[in-house]
Symmetry: C2
Subunit: 354 residues, 2 copies
DNA sequence: GTGAAAGCGCTAACAG
DNA sequence: CTGTTAGCGCTTTCAC
């Protein structure tokens, strides 16, 4: 490697050494002035600052990280950025991270476990202070095993795994969990429908195996039980994705069979609800006059279509995740928090007028 | 600094040195095996791999970056992640970056210039291969000056500034520009309204000084000119944000004055349109029977509310930005591309039935 | 094919 | 208060 000599070549990043020689001091002094780590003479200080400005010096964060300072960034790994739920959590994470002087590294997985594992490893290479995993996984054995390994690896590297909106991996895995009450929200939502007299409630868009979906479904069943209404497997419609288009497809298909055999639909999330709504409308069915509609998430589409839905604490989810991950006293007990959810009433549900 | 001796302490990241000694080879060999930089004996190779697995070794990307390898990440700086336009572009950037083996560093600014400049500097410290700035700035002198400086600094550090959805800084500034035809889209949209017979078209939600807003407004005026319709300043309504709530507020206020003095509204974007729509509906006005409504962006709310709008090439915007930034031959000429836009017809516009 | 050694740019003892 | 120096973990000549 041809060591280049002194001349501070214009087309090269200025280094601390360049600054030092321009200011006529040692690199240590420059480091101290810049870091504010230590008192320094005003004269020295201003000489250094001038050199910094003249040279357009910008510190090299890699060198800094290597020299022992912890990294300045947290990582977030999620399915997709355009999906409103993830977008809101991501925004909250970014905001909180910025407030704590951190940058965020982001990676999306499209819901694929292998990509998720790959992303965690990448983030580990980057020495992120915290790695935040958001939402919705299939709860497989491989997932649990591999993730537990990563949690340990991260922990012993001084980093911290955070599971956000997904269940714990067990008590012996060093991961912080920040989730929300999926089942509770679904129970409340279903209860809302039931108390309005609905008995035939279509559960639309269940995604089997996925943690959030399973939680919601079980809340739905709980509520049914509570009202002594038997669960009818024919009223559960599974879907492949949780997107708007899928809700539309699913409902259209269901409607093709003939007159609706339900008076209300509880959608797996707001997007599914929006799609279902469109299919219902296209079929000439009115909401809520003919069919009541309940969503889950309380995200943008909900307001536009006046959807009664379950509110999720997106913001708190994201903020809490980074706050807990970055707090100094790791031994604190609250490494598992469950945030509440509640029904937001708009105009898509009406009592049955049988 | 107390140099720790040999014992590969369990609670410490394994380093290349640990791997080397575990495998009984030199660190150079490990580096070569892992990097695939150089041929190596199969035996050595497998010994190394075993050690890597046993120790759970994960390379340190900072050390790697420091040792000369270029970073593996690109930076994106935007107003907000929840705003659909940004979310879609961000998603495209992430996807393309991942395809090119890069991670993305993200930072949001809330539309504040100082925060934006700060973010660029941070990204520069991180040695991002490319720094992508997305959308919507106030085009001030300070902005141009500072950004031009950064562009030069980044360029000389082997990085690349990309302006995505915002205008060029001038020919002598080393930045790639990937924009879309704001004015053209507005011209087409307004033309669509005009050819349906509308003459009193309310332009709602203009954000003075902001580049995209100005572009759209000028397209609106161009179209008016083309039809020989004089521009009526009373039909231009300025807003403070580009959000749904603002559209709602603005329209409600406008309507408070009395009967609408317009037959169509052209909203600065889909969110404003969604808010305006709600206000119109609340007032008992039907869309499109009473009032025609045109949006801009073609993002999620648009489909839900059947909005006729201008489609933006979000995906191409993001992908092109990283592709151009990362391509090898920097000397190629196409460092300024303008992507097309077009009107998407749904159900919110109808001919005037005077 | 493999090892030794010289840095990449920076921080933090350790001595003045 | 400031300079000297020893690394952080890795890649890459240069020899063997």
């Amino acid at each position: 490697m041809a060591r280049r000599p002194a001349p501070p070549d214009a087309s090269r990043r200025a280094t601390i050494r360049d600054v030092a020689s321009a200011a006529g001091v040692s690199i240590a002094t420059v480091s101290r002035v810049l870091g504010g780590t230590y008192p320094s003479a005003p004269v020295t200080r201003s000489k250094v600052m001038r050199a910094v400005r003249d040279l357009g010096y910008v510190a090299n964060s890699h060198a800094r990280a290597l020299a022992g300072i912890s990294t300045k960034n947290v990582a977030i790994i999620l399915n997709s950025v355009v999906s409103p739920f993830y977008a809101y959590v991501a925004q909250a994470v970014e905001t909180q991270a910025a407030q704590e002087g951190r940058l965020v590294l982001i990676s999306t997985t499209g819901g694929d476990l292998r990509r998720e594992l790959g992303a965690v490893k990448l983030m580990q290479e980057e020495h992120a202070d915290a790695v935040i995993l958001v939402g919705n996984v299939v709860d497989s054995d491989e997932y649990r095993k591999r993730m537990a390994e990563y949690a340990h690896a991260l922990a012993s590297a001084g980093s911290q795994l955070v599971l956000c909106g997904r269940p714990s991996l067990g008590p012996d895995v060093p991961a912080i969990v920040v989730e929300y009450d999926n089942a509770g929200g679904a129970r409340a939502a279903t209860g809302h429908l039931l108390s309005a007299g609905h008995r035939r409630i279509l559960y639309l868009g269940h995604k089997p195996g996925y943690t959030t979906s399973e939680g919601r479904l079980s809340g739905y069943r709980d509520a049914l039980d509570g009202y002594g209404v038997p669960f009818d497997a024919g009223l559960r419609v599974d879907g492949a994705t949780l997107e708007r288009a899928e809700g539309h497809r699913l409902m259209r298909e269901r409607l093709r069979a003939g007159e609706p055999d339900f008076t209300a639909v509880f959608a797996a999330n707001d997007q599914i609800a929006a799609g279902a709504r469109q299919a219902l409308l296209e079929r000439g069915l009115r909401i809520p006059e003919d069919i009541s509609l309940m969503g889950y998430d309380d995200l943008p589409p909900a307001v536009d279509i006046g959807l009664t839905t379950v509110h999720l604490p997106h913001d708190e989810l994201g903020r809490t995740a980074v706050r807990l991950a970055l707090r100094r006293d790791r031994d604190a007990v609250d490494d598992h928090v469950v945030l509440g959810t509640h029904v937001v009433v708009r105009d898509s549900v009406r009592p049955v007028t049988a």
